[in-house]
Symmetry: C2
Subunit: 174 residues, 2 copies
């Protein structure tokens, strides 16, 4: 279990740097990524050796970003969290949005009247270049999603077939 802990820390560091999330949020993300099913708030606090308060705050933060989902169960007052199935695309989308904001402000600049042609061209190029990349990335992301869904559906089908053949019950998911 120690090896996993180390991996969680490493994942945490990368998330921390790439998304500028607080350390605990990053660790939660790492933990959930490596945990099958859900985790209760209590479990996460225990596992990461941090206070429940921190988990409460940072898990919600992650939920707001859309990379984590909160699960509740009938007859159970606890909250459970699991990583969102599309966690990585959510992150990308978030970043694309920020880039869109940048483009918008640059575009404002373009609408101001600017004496220097150099500057005008510079703004033009930046806006065009960023637009291009944002659109291309969005497009590629969609393409990937479509492809992945297709593959997943196929995998699901073969799995069902196997289950039908075996015809037995619970698959021991701990």
């Amino acid at each position: 279990m120690d090896e996993q802990d180390r991996l969680i820390e490493r994942l945490g560091l990368v998330f921390e740097e790439s998304d500028r999330m607080p350390r605990i949020a990053s660790r939660i993300l790492g933990l959930l990524l490596l945990t099958p099913g859900e985790c209760s708030l209590e479990q996460m606090a225990e596992r990461l050796s941090v206070s429940r308060a921190s988990i409460s705050v940072d898990a919600r933060r992650l939920e707001e970003c859309g990379v984590v989902e909160r699960i509740t169960r009938k007859g159970d007052r606890r909250d459970y969290y699991r990583i969102a199935p599309d966690h990585y695309s959510r992150t990308l989308e978030r970043r694309l949005k920020v880039m869109a904001r940048l483009i918008a402000v640059l575009d404002e600049g373009r609408q101001m009247k600017i004496e220097s042609r150099e500057v005008r061209e510079r703004l033009d190029e930046a806006v065009e270049g960023l637009r291009f990349v944002v659109e291309a990335t969005t497009h590629e992301l969609e393409r990937w999603h479509a492809e992945r869904d297709k593959r997943k559906a196929a995998r699901q089908k073969t799995r069902e077939e196997r289950a039908g053949l075996r015809a037995n019950g619970a698959a021991a998911g701990r």
Copy 2:
């Protein structure tokens, strides 16, 4: 000139949020983006109403990121800075690199032996998805560069033709 100042502030805010740069660095970036030619350290400090020390530190920080270039001139002890011609692609490349690091760590996780199939599939998908996007973006960025260079060359040519027609000297760059 006040309108420009406001735009610099707005650009600064976006850069600050999107690249997590200190405020002053973000403002420097905004200023250089809107300034034709170069700016001396002194000029920037004056214009942004901050200390020369801060400019010194943050301009170098931007230089390290590759979004800004330092210029020196023969017989002039001062440093000048200008925005890098490919400032936006530098930023993108930097981000792609971080994503590559994330992929690498996720891949490490994949190489660990993991009991749960759910987790294994999750890691697989994340790695594949991120790889796909990184490659696609890199590719699109290159495509854009090629296209832009072509356009730029064309523009340059017509400009030279015009200059040849006019056949006059300095073009008054403020």
